[in-house]
C-alpha cells in the first residue's frame, strides 16, 4: 500500500554524513586510541560497525509502517521514562565524569537512555498533538498536558545531568507544538516563565554561568573555562579555505578536548578548511529542508508531526554543536549527529531517520 519509494535525498545525505563521520573519527582519534588501546583503529572499527548496524536499523524502520506507532506510543514513552529513572540508580547507571547517562550492557556498548527518550518523545507528542489537534490552541486543555509530559522527561534528563540533551528535547517539542498550531503567544509567555528557572539553575551550579559566559570572551580565562573554545577556534582558524589536509590536524593531539565526539567538527574544520565545514553545513541544511518537505506532504497529521519532530531533533542538535564549536554559544556537551563517535546514540538517531523515511513513502504528490 506504499505509494512510492522513500526519499532518496535524505537517505543519500545521511549516508554521506556517516561516511564523513567514519573518516573524521579515525583522523581525530587514531593517536589517542593507539596510546590508550594500543590500536589506532580502535574507534574507527567501532564507528564503522555501528554505522553499518545503524543503516540496517534505519532500513528496518524505513519499512515499518509508522501508523503502528499511534497504538504503541504511550507504552514506548512509559518504557523510556522507566529507563530514565533506572539510569539514575547508582549501580545500574554508569557514572562517567560525574554524570550517569549510560546503562552498562556488558559486552555491548553502554546504552545512552536519553537518546531513546528523544525518539519516543517525538513519537508520543505526535500522537498526542494529532489526537488533540482541536484543543492545542486551548491553553489548559491542550498545551498544559503536553508540557507536563515534557516536564517529566526534561527533569529526569537534567538529573543525570545532561543539559544539552534536555534542551534539545525541549526545543524539539516547542517546534512540534508550534507546527501543530499552538499559539506563539502562549509559548512565548510560557517560555518567559522559564527564565527564573534558568536563573535558579545557574545560581545553584555556578560553573554553568562561568561556562555560559566564557564563550563571549574565552581569553578572560584561557586555561580554565575558555580553554576548550580557544582551542576549537585555533583549530577552525588554522584550517583556512582548504584546510591542512586530512589527518593533519595539530589541535587534536593535545589541546582539543574530546576530539572524536563533541569537538570533531573543529578537527574537520582544521583538516578540510572552510570548504569542508560549509559542505557539512549544507548537507545538514538539505536534510532539514527535505525533512520539512516530507512533513508538508505527509498523508496525515501524525506523519506530519513525526517528521517535523525527527527533523527538528537532529537539525537542532547539529546547529547547537556547530554553534558551540564555533564559539557562538555556551559550551554544552552535545555531539554532532552522524559524524561524532557514538554507539547506541548513532543507532537510535538512525532509527529516527528510518521512521522519517517511512513517512516519506506515504507522501502525497
Amino acid at each position: 500500500m506504499y505509494k512510492k519509494a522513500p526519499d532518496f535525498i535524505i537517505f543519500f545525505v545521511v549516508v554521506t554524513l556517516l561516511c564523513i563521520g567514519v573518516v573524521m573519527v579515525f583522523s581525530s582519534t587514531s593517536i589517542s586510541s593507539s596510546q590508550k588501546y594500543d590500536d589506532s583503529f580502535y574507534f574507527l572499527k567501532r564507528q564503522l560497525m555501528w554505522s553499518i548496524v545503524g543503516i540496517g536499523v534505519m532500513i528496518f524502520f524505513m519499512r515499518f509502517d509508522y501508523h503502528q506507532y499511534i497504538k504503541w506510543a504511550p507504552k514506548i514513552l512509559l518504557g523510556s521514562i522507566a529507563l530514565l529513572i533506572l539510569v539514575l540508580i547508582p549501580g545500574i547507571g554508569k557514572s562517567v565524569k560525574g554524570s550517569s547517562r549510560w546503562i552498562d550492557l556488558g559486552p555491548l556498548p553502554p546504552l545512552q537512555v536519553s537518546e531513546i527518550a528523544k525518539v519516543s518523545m517525538v513519537i508520543y507528542m505526535s500522537r498526542f498533538l494529532a489526537l488533540k489537534n482541536k484543543e492545542v490552541k486551548n491553553f489548559w486543555k491542550g498545551l498544559v498536558p503536553a508540557l507536563f509530559i515534557l516536564g517529566i522527561v526534561f527533569a529526569l534528563i537534567l538529573m543525570e545531568p545532561d543539559l544539552g540533551t534536555a534542551v534539545t528535547i525541549g526545543g524539539t517539542v516547542f517546534v512540534m507544538l508550534l507546527a501543530s498550531g499552538a499559539r506563539w503567544g502562549h509559548l512565548i509567555g510560557l517560555g518567559s516563565l522559564s527564565i527564573p528557572a534558568v536563573f535558579y539553575m545557574i545560581i545553584t551550579a555556578p560553573y554553568r554561568l562561568k561556562r555560559l559566559l566564557s564563550f563571549l570572551d574565552p581569553w578572560k580565562d584561557p586555561l580554565g573555562s575558555g580553554f576548550h573554545i580557544i582551542q576549537s577556534l585555533y583549530a577552525l582558524g588554522s584550517g583556512g579555505l582548504f584546510g591542512l589536509g586530512l589527518g593533519r590536524s595539530r589541535q587534536k593531539f593535545f589541546y582539543l578536548p574530546e576530539p572524536g565526539t563533541d569537538f570533531i567538527f573543529s578537527v574537520l574544520g582544521e583538516e578540510l578548511g572552510f570548504v569542508g565545514t560549509s559542505t557539512v553545513i549544507l548537507l545538514y541544511f538539505v536534510f532539514a529542508w527535505r525533512g520539512l518537505q516530507i512533513a508538508l506532504q505527509a498523508e496525515d497529521l501524525f506523519g506530519c508531526l513525526i517528521s517535523v519532530g525527527i527533523t527538528t531533533m537532529i537539525t537542532l542538535q547539529a546547529m547547537v554543536n556547530l554553534a558551540v564549536v564555533s564559539g557562538s554559544m555556551p559550551v554544552t556537551g552535545i555531539t554532532l549527529p552522524f559524524i561524532s563517535y557514538g554507539g547506541s546514540s548513532l543507532v537510535f538517531m538512525l532509527a529516527g531517520v528510518g521512521i522519517l523515511l517511512n513517512v516519506s513513502r506515504f507522501t502525497i504528490n
Binding site: 508550534l178 582558524g237 553545513i281 537539525t315
Partner: protein, 614 residues
Amino acid sequence: MIDNNEKRLIPFMLILVAIFLLLIARLYYLQIYQGQRFKELSEGNRTSLRSISAPRGRIYDKNGKVLVSNKLAYTLSIIPEDVEDLDGILEKLNQIMGLDIALAHEKIEKAAKGKTVRLKRNISHEELVLLEENKSELPGVILEETPMREYVYDKLASHVLGYVGEISASELENLSEKGYNVGDIIGKTGLELYYEKYLRGKEGRELVEVNNVREKIRTLGIEEPIAGYDLVLNIDAQLQENVERILAQELDLLTEQAKEDEDIIEPPRGGAVIVTNPYDGSILAMASLPDYNPNLFVGGISQKDWTRLSTDPKKPLLNRAISTSAPSGSIFKIVTGVAGMEELGVKADTEFYDPGYYKTGGVTFRNWSDVGRGKLDFLEAIAWSNNPVFFQLGHQLYKKDRTVLQEYARKFGLGEKTEVDLNNEATGLVPDPEWRRSYFKNNEDKIWYPGYSINLSIGQGNLRTSPIQLVNLVSAVANGGKLYQPLLVDKIVDRDGKLIKDLEPKLLNELSLSKDTLDTIQKGIKAVTTYGTARRTFEDLPITIAGKTGTAQTGKGRPNHGWFAGYAPADNPEIAIVVFIEYGTSSGNTLPIAKEIIKDYFDLDLISEDEGSD
C-alpha cells in the same frame, strides 16, 4: 489541513535558512577572515604553555625553626615542541655554558609532550649574563626563576632531612603515573624521600604570549602552583646541634688518641646518637657522623663531590642511627635478665657464684675480667655486667627452651624494623636455630649449639641491632614495657598552618612484665651508673641516670664497637638516649658523650669536689 500546515511551517523554513546562513557566515569569519591570525596562534607562534614548579613543603623543628626552605634560582628550560632548530640550540648552549648535549637529548626524549623540560638548574650569574647576551640566537630557550631547596643549617641533621635531586630514569619509570616528568625534583633520601608525596606540591601552568624569539610578552592566563605541605618535626634543632657537636668532639678526640696510642688499631669510623621521649617514641635528636652538606645536591651534585662522598670509606652518606647492623654487646643483658626473671624465677637478691669464667661441654666462656668475683646477687651482676652470671642464665634458658631467649629479644623489637619514618632501616637479626638452618649451606654449620645461646645472652655472636632498635628497647624499660614506633615528624600542615595529618606513634608491642621484673631491671641499670661499671663518668652529675654499656666484638682483629643505651633521670625518665661508636674500641668511650648530652639537655652544672664530699 495540508495548506494550513504549509503556512505554519513557513516561519520554520525561514528561521532554518537564517540560522544556517549565520553559521556559514561565522565559519567564514573564523576560517577565512580571521584564519591567518588563529593559525599563527595555534602554530604556537604567539603562545606557549609553560609549567610552573611548585615550591616543596618546608621542614620545621619542634619549636618552629625553619630547617629546610626554598630559595629562588634561575633555571634553563625549553619546550621541545616550541623550538624549530633543537639541535642548533643545544649546540649553542653547549658552546656558551658547556651544557651536556647527550644528557639534554636524553631528557627531551623522555619528556611528556608539550611539557617544559628543565635542562639546567641553579644557573650561575656568569652563565646568566652569557645567556642574556646571546638570547637572540636562542629562540625558545626559557630562563625562569624556580624554587630551589635550601638546607638552612647546611650539615645539621643531614641524614634525617635527606636531600632532593632530579628524578632518575628508574624513578621516572616507576612514578610516571603519579605525574612526574623528566627533570622534576624529587626526594632522594631521608624525610625528603619518606614524605615525598606530602612535600611535593602541585605544578602550575602559565599560558604566555611570546614574541618571534619566543620571549614572554605577557601572561594570558595562570594556574598557580600549589605549594607542598610542611613538616613539623619532633626534632629540637638546638639539641640536635649540640648532640652533633658533642659527638663530633668525642670522635675527634678518639681519632687523636688512636694516632698516639699504638695499641689502638684504627680510629673510629663514625658514630650515632639518638635522643627520644621514651613515653611516645618521638625523636628529639638523631645524629650520625660523619655527615655531608645536602646543599651540594640541590642544583645537581658535581661529579667531584659525588665521587668524594660515595667512595669515602667512612661512608658519610650512611645514616648510622638507623642503618647500622651490629651486635649490641652487654646491652642485651637487659633482655637476658628479663627472660631469666620471668622464665627462671630469678629475683633481685638471687645469689650467683662467679669463678671468673663459665665452662660447659669443654668450652670456656670468659668474663671481661679474669678475676672471679665469687658470690654476688643478681642486681650486682647487672651493675657490674657480669658475664659468667649471664652465661649461666643463657644456658639455663636454652635448657628450658632453645628459643625462649630469642622470643624475649623479639618482644623488645630486635630483629624487626621499628617503622621509624625513614627508608633503609636495618632489620637486624636475632639468631636462632631456624635461622642457622636456612642461612648456612654446610651441614656442620646448620646445628645450633648451646654455645650460641650462651654467646647471645651477652649480646655477641650473630646478633645484629641498630641504634634505633636499642633506643626503643631502653625506652620500653623506662616506660614500663611499651614499644612505640619512633617518629621524626610530629605533624604535617599546609601553608596556612592547617593540620593535614597528625602523626600518632603506633604502639608496636606491649610487654607484660611483672612489677618485680621491671623494678629489678630498672634498679639494675641505675646501679650501673651509681656503683657499677659506669659510676666514674656519672658520679659528678646532680641527677641519676639509668643505662647500660655494650661492647660489640667485631672480629678480624678490628676494634670493638662501643654502645651506651640509657635514660634520665633514672626515677622519672624524660629522655632515652643511645650512643654508638663504630670501631670505638671500648664502650667506655661512649659515656662522655652520653654525659655531655644529658648535661646539656637538663642544663646541669657539675657537682664540685667539695660539695660532693659533703
